[in-house]
């Protein structure tokens, strides 16, 4: 996956990025890993927020594409139904915070904020990967998820970090994709090619 100089410039200026990928297994984690690696803004720690996929599985996919130097933490949102539905791994061997309900976005927001604050105290710049907005939309209505995404972008901006919000474009109508594009500074679309656009050019 490669992108042109224009794409690098757009992403260097962006805090919140909507990552549109096809519904291929691990596509979100792989794309986020590659984008964080290629990005001009270095991150000391990557924090993954995982919902339907386990933290461990996300990290496995991440490690196939990213170098070993970045520290990784996870915020695993699991209401207890995942292990009964899939067998994709248990607790991972990295710091994992648990949030019990994907419907409780206020708790999720505060948990992410606390992780960002601790990283900031340690002078770490954080790259956050939310995997995924599609999963959150299975549990919470669109207006609420939009406000969560917008507000989390604002919180990450204060720490000089970056947040990638993964959305499975094929799972939603055009209006939903456009709505979430408006909550972010830039949009990366992976559909064979890599297209990077500023929000104002979407």
């Amino acid at each position: 996956m490669t992108m042109g100089d224009d794409g690098h410039e757009v992403l260097a200026d962006a805090t919140s990025v909507l990552l549109l990928t096809p519904a291929v297994r691990d596509a979100g984690a792989s794309a986020a890993a590659t984008l964080f690696e290629q990005g001009s803004k270095p991150h000391d720690r990557v924090v993954a927020v995982t919902v339907s996929q386990s933290a461990e599985r996300w990290v496995q996919a991440w490690k196939r594409h990213a170098g070993p130097l970045t520290e990784i933490s996870c915020i695993d949102v699991d209401d207890g139904t995942r292990s009964a539905r899939t067998a994709d791994g248990g607790c991972a061997t990295m710091p994992v915070e648990q949030v019990a309900s994907p419907s409780d976005l206020e708790t999720l927001g505060r948990t992410v904020s606390n992780v960002l604050e601790r990283a900031s105290d340690d002078d770490e710049r954080v790259g956050l990967a939310v995997h995924s907005v599609t999963d959150l939309l299975h549990h919470v209505d669109e207006p609420t998820v939009f406000k969560f995404v917008y507000t989390l972008g604002e919180v990450v901006r204060r720490t000089d970090g970056t947040v990638y919000f993964h959305l499975d474009a094929g799972a939603h109508g055009t209006e939903t994709v456009n709505t979430f594009a408006a909550a972010c500074d830039a949009i990366v679309e992976l559909d064979g090619d890599v297209t990077v656009r500023e929000q104002s050019n979407w």
Partner: protein
């Protein structure tokens, strides 16, 4: 531009209610209420903060909180308390035993949260309109909406600035 917030103060004792209202009137527009039904009468979409004294009657706090949620209002809710040692959630507790300055600041904090919530709601509605125009391929109208979005985005930045991360999430995601 200084924004005057709209606050409802509801307490059973008229003199206490009026004293609290007087403290706030330098910076806010205040409506007073001396009973739970009066509080409910004054609850309108332009209200930023509603302060309720549990002494208004049994279930007064729950009744007003349910009305705020049921009417989908974006105001913030506070419970008037005489101290900081009761069992009310600290985040909605507004101590009347505090100094006038602290009381004003606490109400201002709740009003600022309401302002962020309302502005983000307005932003979302405009984003939806823009997304529809995008889908219908109406670029001229969409450019117009885009300019309004940019202006509203600046107002949203201003509304968010005084709030810490916890207050931002609480403002938009706490529905009582």
């Amino acid at each position: 531009m200084t924004v005057r917030h709209l606050v409802i103060v509801g307490s059973e004792d008229p003199s206490t209610t009026d004293e609290l209202a007087a403290v706030l009137r330098d910076t806010c527009t205040v409506r007073t209420a001396y009973s739970t039904p009066e509080v409910l009468d004054r609850l309108e979409p332009d209200v930023d903060v509603v302060l309720v004294d549990p002494g208004l009657g049994e279930d007064s706090v729950e009744t007003v909180r349910d009305a705020v949620a049921g009417r989908e209002l974006d105001c913030q809710f506070g419970v008037l308390s005489t101290g900081t040692d009761d069992r009310t959630d600290d985040d909605i507790q507004v101590s009347v035993a505090a100094s006038e300055r602290d009381f004003r600041e606490r109400v201002e904090q709740l009003a600022t949260r309401a302002r962020y919530r309302k502005t983000l709601e307005e932003y979302y509605e405009l984003v939806q309109a823009s997304a529809e125009l995008h889908a219908e391929d109406l670029p001229a109208q969409r450019d117009q909406v885009q300019r309004r979005l940019e202006a509203l985005g600046r107002r949203l930045d201003d509304a968010a600035a005084p709030l810490d991360a916890e207050a931002l999430f609480r403002a938009v995601l706490d529905d009582g």
